[in-house]
């Protein structure tokens, strides 16, 4: 055994007390700050539940067709959606979708600027990269506990946990995409007197878009991977069904809800990937990008 050299109890107590103090002193402010997130999530959820089921299916099948221009993916999407409906998982699927969409949108809002700054400054990159590593490797329960303490169980901590887990790939791929833009093209834009703003929005972001879209794809997938954990702290949806299945030893409930998550994952993965590929071909990077 490693000898006990110092007494760690004061340190632990200090951390615990510190957190408690934060909860007591700032809890309301934190909750107020998170209200927009909750509003976003609830709005999306209400909207999706308000839409008739067939319209959601038509939109998703239509997106699948628009992305691939072939029949295979739309048929897969159609089958997956009908499976969700038949298995009485519709409402839970919509809730999970809402959580995923809200987390992805929020992740995009935060990740793009961070990725852009990272691509421009090596110092920022050196600081942000380990933070991203931490966000992805730290077991989510570790930060769930303080988040739940601050916000109380419910949708907000679920959403925050999902965002923390799902945002890093988007930041990384935004940074990567911007840095991979052909330096010859950038030099040409500079030679014509473009401002940094014209260069960023007119050249760098459009050319990095396929890579950024790959990041969005990763983010949706990681958000879906978090739904079971998120349901433990009150997110509801398919994850909650899985959780209940485990709790009640109802294998069928867990299995079908799990398959439902897989179905959603397939739909969103394939559709976003197909759009990314389409974009890449339009830019003519398909040979380079692979």
């Amino acid at each position: 055994m490693f000898p006990e050299i110092i007494d760690t109890r004061p340190l632990r107590r200090w951390v615990d007390d510190g957190l408690e103090w934060v909860v007591r002193a700032w809890g309301d402010e934190f909750e107020a700050a998170a209200q927009p997130l909750l509003f976003l999530l609830n709005s999306i959820q209400r909207f999706l539940l308000w839409l008739p089921w067939w319209l959601i299916i038509i939109v998703l099948v239509g997106l699948a067709y628009a992305a691939t221009r072939r029949a295979v993916l739309p048929i897969v999407v159609l089958i997956a959606m009908i499976f969700l409906g038949l298995m009485e998982l519709w409402e839970d699927s919509v809730k999970t979708m809402a959580l995923m969409i809200a987390a992805t949108l929020t992740a995009i809002v935060f990740s793009l600027p961070v990725g852009i700054v990272m691509a421009r400054s090596a110092i920022v990159r050196r600081i942000v990269t380990p933070i991203l590593d931490l966000m992805q490797t730290l077991p989510s329960f570790v930060y769930l506990i303080p988040v739940v303490m601050i916000f109380g169980p419910g949708k907000i901590p679920a959403l925050i946990a999902t965002i923390v887990y799902a945002a890093p790939p988007l930041v990384r791929l935004t940074d990567l995409g911007l840095r991979l833009v052909d330096p010859d093209v950038l030099e040409a834009t500079q030679a014509f007197g473009a401002t940094p703003r014209q260069r960023l929005f007119g050249v760098q972001i459009p050319l990095a878009l396929p890579t950024i879209l790959a990041g969005v794809n990763q983010t949706t997938m990681m958000a879906l991977a978090m739904v079971v954990i998120a349901s433990m702290i009150g997110a509801g949806g398919l994850g909650y069904q899985v959780l209940q299945g485990i709790g009640r030893l109802e294998v069928s409930r867990g299995l079908f809800a799990g398959l439902g998550i897989v179905a959603l994952a397939i739909i969103f993965d394939r559709v976003t990937q197909a759009f990314g590929k389409q974009l890449q071909e339009r830019i003519g990077l398909s040979e380079v990008g692979k």
Partner: protein, 348 residues
């Protein structure tokens, strides 16, 4: 204004590395370039180059890869800042410009064509050609109108909506050329603009550039590693080696009096008939009777050679068509033979 050169580069030195000043002071002490590089670990890209480009001329900077020619041309629009030296464009010191002035300068005074084209792959041909105008802030209708004109001029009419990657290399560089010409600047920088193209396409593009230049009369600083290309299009040629300027002058001077062995190597493989103008070897005799056939003073030996199959003399006329002299087949052969490697000859 007419006496001010369009581009003037004075004693420009560019040292790459994290301590350029140390290397610079050693160079100023007169140490050799290789010494300084070995001692300081800095890389000397351009070594004390001075060059003056007159208005309306095509001035070629020629050198092998690593000779610093691409680094040098990037100083003119300050894509690269020199370690020391001065650069004047139209008499204005480029190095004193702040970022805002520099951007304005790049948008209005100088345009550039790149070896690897540097086209925007996500934009159509016409939007690529209009890019510089867009950056400059021209309104959409006007820039598309100008872009369409230049697309027509470079022979790409019908390709306006195509994506660059659907075009061949030659066509892509036409887009790059049109984009630069659309800026309507007096000065054009061309960095190995035709080097990435197939020989036949390259030769065609050179012809077209010269044809365009007849009409546009721009000041063109043209970088190449191809001596034939330099001779074909250059009004003057500057030869760089290891960052330093070795020789500068009109093409025939380089061919007839190469400054050192390095340039002689280039000259050995070159088509001299193309480099030597009739004017430099003709016999002057204004009172001679009119020859049956005549060429202009600007004609090259290449142009008169086929005529000797039919005629013994070929007259030479000046700008106004007056005969100023004549050339003989013997004179041409003499000029072409002068610098050939010596072959052992035996007299019987």
């Amino acid at each position: 204004m007419s006496t001010v050169p369009a581009i003037e580069i004075r004693n420009v030195t560019k040292i790459f590395g994290d301590e350029p000043e140390a290397a610079l002071s050693l160079l100023k002490e007169g140490r050799s370039k290789s010494d300084v590089q070995a001692e300081t670990g800095q890389v000397i890209g351009v070594d004390d180059v001075s060059l003056s480009v007159e208005r309306g001329q095509i001035h070629v900077v020629m050198g092998l890869s690593g000779s610093g020619k691409s680094t040098l041309i990037r100083h003119v629009n300050r894509l690269i800042d020199p370690t020391s030296g001065e650069i004047f464009v139209n008499g204005i010191d480029v190095l004193t410009m702040n970022i805002e002035e520099l951007r304005h300068f790049r948008r209005t005074q100088i345009a550039m064509v790149f070896q690897k084209f540097g086209l925007l792959p996500h934009r159509s041909v016409i939007d690529n050609v209009a890019f510089g105008l867009e950056v400059r802030g021209e309104d959409k209708a006007k820039r598309l109108e100008i872009a369409a004109e230049w697309i027509e001029t470079v022979g790409l009419a019908g390709y306006e909506k195509s994506q660059p990657h659907h075009l061949s290399g030659g066509q892509q560089q036409r887009v790059g050329l049109a984009r630069a010409l659309a800026m309507d600047t007096d000065i054009l920088l061309m960095d190995e603009a035709f080097s990435a193209l197939d020989p036949l396409i390259r030769s065609g593009m050179q012809d077209e550039l010269m044809e365009l230049q007849q009409k546009l009369n721009k000041t063109i600083l043209f970088i190449t590693h191809d001596f034939d290309e330099a001779l074909k299009i250059g009004d003057r040629i500057a030869v760089l080696k290891d960052g330093a300027l070795i020789q500068e002058g009109p093409p025939e001077e380089i061919v007839l009096k190469p400054a050192n062995a390095h340039i002689e190597e280039f000259v050995a493989d070159v088509n001299k008939a193309r480099a030597i103008s009739v004017k430099s070897i003709m016999s002057r005799d204004e009172n001679m009777e009119k020859c049956e056939i005549a060429v202009a003073e600007a004609a090259r030996c290449e142009d008169v050679l086929p005529l000797f199959a039919e005629y013994d003399w070929v007259g030479v006329t000046n700008d106004v068509g007056k005969q100023t002299g004549y050339v003989t087949a013997k004179a041409v052969i003499k000029a072409l033979a002068r610098h050939q490697p010596t072959i052992e000859t035996t007299q019987v």
